[in-house]
Symmetry: C3
């Protein structure tokens, strides 16, 4: 059903990018999926670099946030077999590489939250923390991690 | 009992502030409450702005940390019906907007930890991480999230 | 068995450092250990100060990351009685105090991930987020927290 919802929304999930380092995209334990911090990769590459409020504008950052979520969902699909096993998005942590004086992190991360609610409905509504960090891996603008409840 | 403890301590919980963005203050799953990053809002507004160690001094930052906790408890009360259902504060993540060279994040966040222990006793004793971030939403000085165990 | 693995690897765990502030090194609930953000302390003291990519070079930062893990394992041993009760490292969050323009946080935190896999094998393979923060407590270069599944 989530797959057909993605089709309705015109969303195609990317390939789940393999981490370039020694960690797993997702671990599963006791009905909880721990999703690694997702980079905004398209075709395996980060394409937008710099600080939001500096080199990166708000709309571009919001698109990067959406890309992080699509990567995360691709990883969840690979780990769970199907996105239909997702019962609830419990928590999201959004890290925004922030230029000095940029304080609209919630507007950036809201694009990710909106996308989850579009896709999953009420099951996509989550708790969240959004903070502005000094630097992100590969000079990405946004990184997002999730905690997700799943069933059989 | 926690309510009477709050009265003893002279603490009145604020109204639980509704998030201004598309997320929930708290999600509940399998006995765990995931509490969103709390802003130090009084009457729905952040009132202290800037970096700790810069525009914001240590004592003011500590008071902001306490306000984050009161907001978090107000949200937990709204989600659980009663704070008496809280079994244990498991984890706190404290983000301190930090001026260059400010490294006393633990002193800031300790005000939040002390308050939880005052209110909940041993059940308020938690694991914690405190870090210094570049920028926070609304130019707040402190943001705090929690993971909390609850029962019936 | 993990103890003999540590001996094989020539690793001696340090004393579990007591937090200097009002929190616990580890909380346990329902088979999950929440491990506080670990500082790279040797004999109870942080010894390397500054930002990675600035005063602190990559190799030194990687060693600091390993020290955080040893501290975390010492705390887990104290909390669980034995490291053999660890079933899985579920999640690691690595915070790297980052000089402007330093974006190799994953290379720093990979030293921590590698060490966990060396010690625990597949059970040490975890989800992870690595971010670059503005400042860390005591001007440390690295701070690492973990979420760990354990059994009887």
């Amino acid at each position: 059903m989530i797959e057909s919802r993605l089709t309705e929304l015109g969303i195609t999930l990317p390939e789940a990018a393999s981490p370039s380092f020694n960690y797993l995209p997702v671990t599963l334990h006791n009905g909880i999926a721990y999703v690694s911090g997702q980079m905004p990769k398209v075709d395996g590459e980060v394409r937008v670099f710099g600080k939001v409020g500096g080199e990166v504008d708000l709309e571009t950052a919001r698109e990067e946030a959406r890309i992080c979520i699509l990567q995360g969902l691709a990883c969840l699909k690979a780990a769970l077999g199907s996105l239909d096993r997702i019962e609830r998005i419990l928590k999201m942590n959004g890290y925004v590489a922030s230029a000095r004086g940029f304080n609209a992190q919630p507007k950036v991360i809201d694009a990710a939250s909106d996308l989850l609610v579009q896709i999953f409905g009420d099951a996509g509504r989550h708790a969240r923390a959004a903070v502005g960090v000094a630097e992100l891996p590969r000079n990405a603008a946004v990184e997002i991690e999730m905690t997700v409840a799943f069933g059989d």
